[in-house]
């Protein structure tokens, strides 16, 4: 069954979109990430214009993270103070990202920017996560605790920068500067790539700031919710590329898939889980890494000039 997408201006099979978003939702529920990083490239692969794919996935990520935020909120595993700072930085980053996105689109290099960003981000983060997951697994084998405990009195230098603040929920006393910088970077990446950035924020908060994992996931979902809501609005305002029909289909598949993913997660071993996520991110990165290096089959591409529309 086909449905015509009013903004993307092409018909698409409802079952294909529901199947895809359901599968991505399952993965996102399983790993506690937004899943935008998988969904955007898949939509582009289905011939949906990249601008529409990025903007619409932002709406989908906003919707699916709502579910998570509500769950963590009920469990009180959400640091609002830390979340607010992350959001403030995230909004600034999102504005910069949307501006950058639109200027790259005008220059005709959007495709390359998206590809190269995916490559760098995914190979670096996937690689780091793989390394960490393997190390943790080896530790478990050797009978040691999987994670190093935070030791009193030892702080990395960036936490000692000026403007220090206390975050009681996260058991953190740290400078605002590195947190805000991280938030800006993630907001920027999110707006350009149509990803929530959870897969960057979660490991960053755990490794750089040593915040307890349970709090990290809830807080990161909160930050994603707010920045992706902002990104959806900004995309709708500046380039009118949010497709509401596609967004509904993605949300329906996504939220249902995420519930099943979340249930499956409870039956999986935590460490093998992290290894799987690392491999997943790494393989998406490698898939994009190959692309700009192979000679294109069709060197030409056609776009409709923006000015005349």
């Amino acid at each position: 069954m086909q449905i015509y997408l009013p903004i993307a201006e092409l018909p698409i099979s409802i079952l294909t979109v529901l199947g895809l978003s359901g599968a991505v939702g399952f993965v996102s529920g399983l790993f506690g990430v937004g899943g935008g990083f998988l969904l955007t490239p898949l939509l582009i692969f289905l011939d949906i214009p990249p601008a529409v794919a990025v903007a619409t996935v932002a709406a989908q990520v906003a919707g699916s993270s709502t579910t998570g935020v509500l769950t963590y909120w009920r469990r009180r595993a959400l640091d609002l103070k830390l979340g607010t700072i992350l959001v403030a930085g995230g909004i600034l980053g999102t504005v910069l990202g949307v501006l950058f996105f639109n200027s790259m689109r005008r220059l005709g290099q959007l495709e390359l920017v998206i590809t190269l960003s995916y490559v760098t981000l995914f190979t670096i983060i996937g690689g780091l996560m793989l390394y960490d997951a393997l190390r943790a697994m080896l530790r478990v084998r050797a009978g040691k605790p999987a994670r190093l405990k935070r030791q009193a009195g030892t702080h990395p230098w960036w936490m000692g920068l000026p403007l220090r603040m206390r975050f009681p929920d996260s058991q953190l006393y740290c400078s605002v500067i590195p947190i805000a910088t991280l938030a800006i970077v993630i907001g920027f990446i999110g707006a350009v790539l149509g990803v929530g950035g959870g897969f960057i924020l979660v490991p960053a908060l755990i490794y750089f700031f040593r915040i307890p994992t349970a709090i990290v996931v809830g807080t990161s979902l909160f930050q994603i919710l707010v920045t992706m809501t902002g990104a959806t609005l900004l995309h709708a305002l500046t380039n009118q590329s949010v497709d509401i029909v596609l967004a509904i289909l993605l949300l329906l598949g996504g939220v249902i898939g995420a519930q099943f993913g979340g249930r499956a997660a409870r039956n999986l071993n935590v460490e093998s889980f992290r290894l799987l996520l690392a491999l997943l991110i790494l393989s998406v990165g490698l898939r994009f890494a190959i692309e700009p290096f192979i000679p294109p089959g069709e060197p030409f591409s056609v776009v409709i000039s923006e000015g005349t529309r």
Binding site: Q60, T66, G108, L112, F300, V302, S305
Partner: protein, 257 residues
């Protein structure tokens, strides 16, 4: 059934007008002048009907009649970019503008164009796909870079199904009555389309006729698309609220604690 009745009515009208002919002229009509895009739209088809009028005073011709039907879509400025190798990677480098290019083009004829007109006439009259982007200035055509970009543009649009050439796309129902179906793919843009029908005999254009149709979004699709452009704030807020609502709904429906 309604469509059949309509086609029959058109044919009856065409047949009736035969008697009133004075010289060799072309009369054409279309099955519809509007394609409406609804939520289950997957492309559409229109049919051009025509009749060649002639009477006793019209000169007897040794050559049979040929019909070429050209349908052109909305015109836009198209940017064609070429990927080139920079170090190890391939990036978009050179670009050419093709102002006023049709986003949709289909050329239908009753036999291959090369049998209907000479290459010179085809070029001069801009008949056929390959002549669509040519300029009247012959010097510019000799510029090989532009020609390469123009070929690339044509190749991409052919592949997308937006450009097509159908050598048997026109059927003569009798020696003077013909019909030509025009396939409009779902990816064809909204806007106005023009159709030009040219009558040839012995490689010479004898008569021409133009008509048009439009592709418009209707109902929900039209309202959503215009809302996105005219009321971006409302559209954005509605999308966001809907996303949040669906997210909240999911957490309620699947809540287990």
């Amino acid at each position: 059934m309604r469509r059949m009745a309509r086609i029959a009515a058109i044919l009856a009208f065409l047949a009736g007008s035969l008697g009133a002919a004075r010289a060799e002229t072309l009369i054409a009509a279309m099955s519809s002048h509007q394609i409406l895009i609804t939520s289950n739209y997957t492309g559409s088809q229109l049919t051009v009907f025509g009749v060649v009028e002639r009477d006793g005073r019209t000169v007897a011709r040794g050559d049979p009649y040929d019909i070429v039907v050209t349908a052109r879509g909305p015109r836009r400025m198209l940017l064609v970019r070429e990927k080139e190798r920079v170090g190890p990677i391939w990036i978009n480098k050179t670009q050419r503008r093709f102002p006023d290019s049709s986003l949709f083009l289909t050329v239908a004829s009753n036999r291959p164009l090369s049998e209907i007109v000479s290459p010179e006439t085809a070029r001069r009259e801009r008949v056929g796909l390959e002549n669509a982007h040519r300029t009247r200035d012959a010097a510019l055509d000799l510029d090989t870079t532009t020609a390469r970009f123009s070929d690339g543009l044509q190749r991409i649009l052919l592949e997308k199904g937006l450009y097509s050439a159908r050598e048997r796309g026109v059927t003569f129902l009798s020696s003077t009555v013909f019909s030509a179906p025009i396939e409009v793919p779902a990816t064809a843009p909204t806007g106005s389309y023009e159709i030009e029908i040219v009558l040839y005999a012995g490689g010479v254009p004898l008569a021409r006729q133009t008509t048009n149709f439009e592709v418009v979004k209707s109902g929900m699709e039209q309202r959503l698309a215009s809302a996105a452009h005219d009321l971006p704030v409302v559209y954005g807020l509605v999308t966001v609220l809907m996303a949040l609502l669906l997210g909240w709904l999911a957490s309620v429906v699947f809540r287990r604690d």
